[in-house]
C-alpha cells in the first residue's frame, strides 16, 4: 500500500515576509479600490451603478424570468371556468402536502363530472417546487410570478379556490373541455 500521508511543508517565510507589510499594503489597496467604487456609485451614478451589487429591495425588484417558479395558482379558460377537474394528482405529488382538496360531482354536466368543491393551498407549506404544475394533466395549475406572501397569522396563508383563481387568471386554450371534449 502506498503511503497515504503526505506531509505538506509549511511555506518558509523570509525575514521580510515575516513582517507582513507587503501583503498588508496590497490588501489595503484592494479594499480601498472597492470602497471608492461604491462611493462613486452612491454619489454620482446611482441610476446605473457599477460596483454596488446590493438590490434595494422594496424599490428595486428582480424582474422574474419566464421560468420563475413562484406561488402555485389555478387558471381558468377563456370562459372563466376553472380548468381543474379535482383529479388530486397535484395533491398526491406535492412533497410537503400543501394542497388539500374536496372533490365533488357536477350534477348537470355530462362532459366534466368532477370539480373541486374546495381547493386549498397552504402557502406556508408550499416549497415552490413546481411538481404540481408538472403533474397536472389538465394544465390547470401554474406557478406564477408571485413570491411576496406575507401575513401576520397562519390562517391567511391558506389560499382558497377563489384566491387561487384570481392569482392564476385566464389562460387561453385551444381545448375547452366543457364544450368539446
Amino acid at each position: 500500500m502506498k503511503n497515504r500521508v503526505r506531509v505538506v511543508k509549511r511555506p518558509q517565510l523570509s525575514f521580510l515576509e515575516r513582517w507582513y507589510l507587503g501583503p498588508v499594503v496590497k490588501g489595503l489597496g484592494m479594499t480601498i479600490k472597492r470602497f471608492f467604487g461604491v462611493l462613486t456609485d452612491v454619489l454620482f451614478r446611482w441610476e446605473n451603478k457599477k460596483t454596488a451589487i446590493t438590490m434595494q429591495y422594496p424599490e428595486e425588484r428582480w424582474d422574474f424570468k419566464d421560468n420563475f417558479r413562484g406561488a402555485p395558482a389555478l387558471v381558468m379558460d377563456q370562459e372563466g371556468r376553472s380548468k381543474c377537474v379535482a383529479c388530486q394528482i397535484c395533491e398526491f405529488v406535492c412533497p410537503p402536502k400543501a394542497i388539500t382538496m374536496w372533490p365533488a360531482e357536477l350534477e348537470d354536466e355530462d362532459k366534466v363530472e368532477k370539480y373541486p368543491e374546495r381547493f386549498e393551498i397552504d402557502m406556508l407549506r408550499c416549497i415552490y417546487c413546481g411538481y404540481c404544475e408538472e403533474a397536472c394533466p389538465e394544465e390547470a395549475i401554474f406557478l406564477v410570478k408571485e413570491a411576496e406572501i406575507v401575513y401576520a397569522d397562519r390562517e391567511s396563508f391558506v389560499y382558497d379556490k377563489d384566491k387561487l383563481h384570481a392569482m392564476g387568471g385566464i389562460r387561453e386554450d385551444r381545448i375547452m373541455k366543457w364544450k368539446d371534449k
Binding site: Q88, F92, D110
Partner: protein, 519 residues
C-alpha cells in the same frame, strides 16, 4: 370441462408444468407465475373470448390463440411473450384505446385499472387514429348504486355475464352495432339485483363506478386492510379502504371457502356507522367525559360490590350481556371477568334479518357462534327481575337488552352515548381492531384494523383485562389480539394449536361440537 383426474404436461415460456386436463392457458400460466393479460376472462364466468388481449403463441399452430378459450393439451409449448405475441397485444391495445376518452384524471378506477396497467405493460403509448373519437353517453345512472360510462366500456361483457349467469337476473344487454355498440339495462334502466355492485369490481376498466364511493378518494391515497364484512354471519372476506381515518369502501376479497369473489350490496354499503360524527370517543361516568383511569376505577368499584355480594347469588343480581359483534378475544376476556365475579347470568341477542341462497345470512352479526362458545346464552333476559349490576356490550344499533330492564348500576360499552349508563365505555367497530370471529360454517376468520379510532383509545379487550386486574389480584391481560388468541388456544379445546398467523388471511374451519355452538 371435466378433468377426470387426468393431468397434462405443458411448457410455458420454457418452464415445465403439470396441470389438470381441461385447464385453459391463462390458468396454466398462473402455475408458473406468468400473467397472461386478460379483460373478458373471469374464472367464475363463461368464456366469451371477445377482448383478444390474451393472445398467445403455441408451437406448431399457425395463428395466435386466445389463452382464455384454449385448453392446454399434453406436450403443448406456449409462448406468452414472444415477439409475435407482443406485436399482437400492441395492436389489440391500440384498438381498445381508439375511442377511449382518456378520462383517467377523473376516473375512480385510475390506479387499479387494467387498461392503464396493460397500456403501460403492453401498449405502444401511441395512437395512429387521427379522426374524431366516437362519442357515447357518459355518467349514466343505472340505479342508485352503479354509474355507467359508455365511452370507457371495452365491451368485455363481464357485467352482462355476471348478472345473467350468477345472479340470474339478466338485466344488462348489448345494444346497437359497430362503433355505436353500447350497453343497455332492461326495463326502466335501473339495476335491481342485490348483488349488482359486484359488476363494479368485475369491470376491468372504469366504465362501472360506485355511486357510493364516487369521487370520495383516489385509490392511491387510501390504506387497505384485509378484513371481513361484519354485516352478517357469513363473514365475507373484504379489503377495507380508509383515508385519513375514515372508512370509504369495501370490496370483496377472494376466499373460495366463504364468499368466492363476491359480496352482497347490503354488506358493502354497511360501513357508514364507522364514520359517524356522534360516536362515543371517551369514557363517561355519570354523563361526564373522564379519563380512562377514573372510569376504570368507578367500574371496578361497582363490580367489587357485586363480587362481595356473591355475584349471581340471590342477594345481588348481576347480569353480563355480550354482543355477537364482539371478537372471540373480547368474549374470552369478558367471560374471564364474569368468572372472577362469579356471575352466572350471561346473555346475548342475535339481530335477525333476511337471508338468501347466495351469500346473505339471516343472522345480522358476525360472531354469534363465538358468543355461544364462550358461554353466553342466546336467551331472553328476565325483565321482571330487579338487577343490581348490568354489564352490557351494546349491539351496533345500541340494542340487546329490553328497554324497560330494571337495573341499579349499568356499565355499558356502546357506539353512541348511553344516557342510562353509570359508566359508559366507547365501543370500537370491527374495522378498528384486530381479532377473530367464528363465521357461518364454523369458520374462524380474522378481522383487522383498517383505521385508528380516537388516538388514546383503549380497546374493549384491554378495558376488560384491566377491570379484571383491579378486582382479581395479580391478573395480567395480554397486549395484542394474537397473544390473547394464544391464551384462548390453551384453554379451549376447539382452538387447540391455532395461532394468529396460522389462521392466515383465509381463515380455518373449526371442528365444533353441535352442543358448543348451538344450532
Amino acid at each position: 370441462m371435466s378433468t377426470n383426474g387426468k393431468t397434462v404436461n405443458v411448457t410455458i415460456d420454457g418452464k415445465q408444468v403439470t396441470v389438470p386436463a381441461g385447464t385453459n392457458i391463462i390458468e396454466a400460466a398462473r402455475h408458473v407465475n406468468t400473467e397472461v393479460p386478460h379483460y373478458c376472462y373471469h374464472p367464475r364466468l363463461s368464456v366469451v373470448g371477445n377482448c383478444r388481449i390474451c393472445l398467445v403463441e403455441i408451437e406448431g399452430w399457425p395463428k395466435l390463440q386466445i389463452g382464455c378459450n384454449t385448453n392446454v393439451s399434453d406436450g403443448m409449448t406456449v409462448f406468452t411473450a414472444s415477439d409475435k405475441v407482443r406485436e399482437a397485444r400492441e395492436g389489440v391495445m391500440e384498438l381498445l384505446l381508439i375511442n377511449h376518452p382518456l378520462d383517467c384524471t377523473i376516473c375512480d378506477q385510475a390506479g387499479e385499472c387494467k387498461l392503464q396497467d396493460y397500456a403501460v405493460d403492453h401498449g405502444t403509448g401511441l395512437t395512429r387514429f387521427a379522426f374524431d373519437k366516437q362519442k357515447k353517453p357518459k355518467n349514466v345512472s343505472w340505479g342508485d348504486k352503479v354509474v355507467f360510462d359508455a365511452e370507457r366500456c371495452i365491451l368485455c361483457t363481464r357485467c352482462v355475464r355476471f348478472l345473467d349467469e350468477l345472479c340470474g337476473t339478466d338485466e344488462i344487454g348489448i345494444d346497437f352495432r359497430g362503433e355505436k355498440v353500447s350497453l343497455i339495462v332492461r326495463d326502466d334502466g335501473q339495476l335491481t339485483s342485490p348483488y349488482q355492485m359486484n359488476i363494479i369490481d368485475l369491470c376491468p376498466v372504469g366504465a362501472l363506478t360506485s355511486r357510493d364511493f364516487r369521487f370520495k378518494s383516489r385509490v392511491w391515497f387510501m390504506q387497505f386492510a384485509n378484513t371481513l364484512c361484519t354485516g352478517c354471519a357469513r363473514g365475507c372476506n373484504v379489503v377495507a379502504g380508509a383515508r385519513e381515518e375514515r372508512l370509504l369502501r369495501m370490496v370483496p376479497r377472494f376466499n373460495a371457502q366463504v364468499n368466492d369473489h363476491w359480496m352482497c350490496d347490503e354488506g358493502r354499503l354497511n360501513y357508514t356507522f364507522v364514520n359517524d360524527e356522534d360516536r362515543l370517543v371517551a369514557p363517561r361516568v355519570n354523563g361526564k367525559d373522564v379519563p380512562y383511569d377514573d372510569a376504570l376505577a368507578r367500574a371496578a368499584a361497582i363490580l367489587q360490590k357485586a363480587k362481595e355480594g356473591g355475584g349471581g347469588a340471590a342477594d345481588i343480581a348481576v347480569l353480563g350481556c355480550a354482543s355477537p359483534f364482539m371478537t372471540n378475544e373480547e368474549l374470552f376476556s369478558f367471560a374471564g371477568l364474569l368468572d372472577a365475579l362469579g356471575v352466572t347470568e350471561r346473555r346475548f341477542a342475535i339481530p335477525m334479518g333476511e337471508g338468501d341462497d347466495m351469500l346473505l345470512h339471516p343472522e345480522k352479526a358476525p360472531n354469534a357462534r363465538g358468543a355461544r362458545l364462550f358461554g353466553f346464552q342466546d336467551a331472553p333476559v328476565d325483565a321482571e327481575r330487579d338487577w343490581d349490576v348490568v354489564v352490557h356490550f351494546a349491539a351496533r344499533d345500541g340494542g340487546g337488552l329490553p328497554d324497560d330492564l330494571n337495573a341499579k348500576s349499568r356499565i355499558v360499552f356502546s357506539l353512541q352515548v348511553d344516557k342510562n349508563a353509570d359508566v359508559n365505555f366507547p365501543l370500537t367497530t370491527s374495522f378498528e381492531k384486530d381479532g377473530t370471529v367464528i363465521s357461518a360454517g364454523d369458520r374462524l376468520q380474522r378481522v383487522s384494523k383498517a383505521l385508528t379510532f380516537a388516538p388514546s383509545h383503549l380497546t374493549e379487550r384491554v378495558v376488560l383485562d384491566r377491570l379484571r386486574g383491579l378486582i382479581e389480584d395479580g391478573y395480567q391481560g395480554t397486549d395484542t389480539a394474537a397473544l390473547a388468541l394464544a391464551r384462548i388456544a390453551q384453554e379451549h379445546a376447539a382452538f387447540e394449536g391455532l395461532t394468529w398467523t396460522g389462521i392466515g388471511l383465509q381463515g380455518v374451519s373449526l371442528q365444533l361440537a353441535e352442543a358448543e355452538v348451538g344450532a
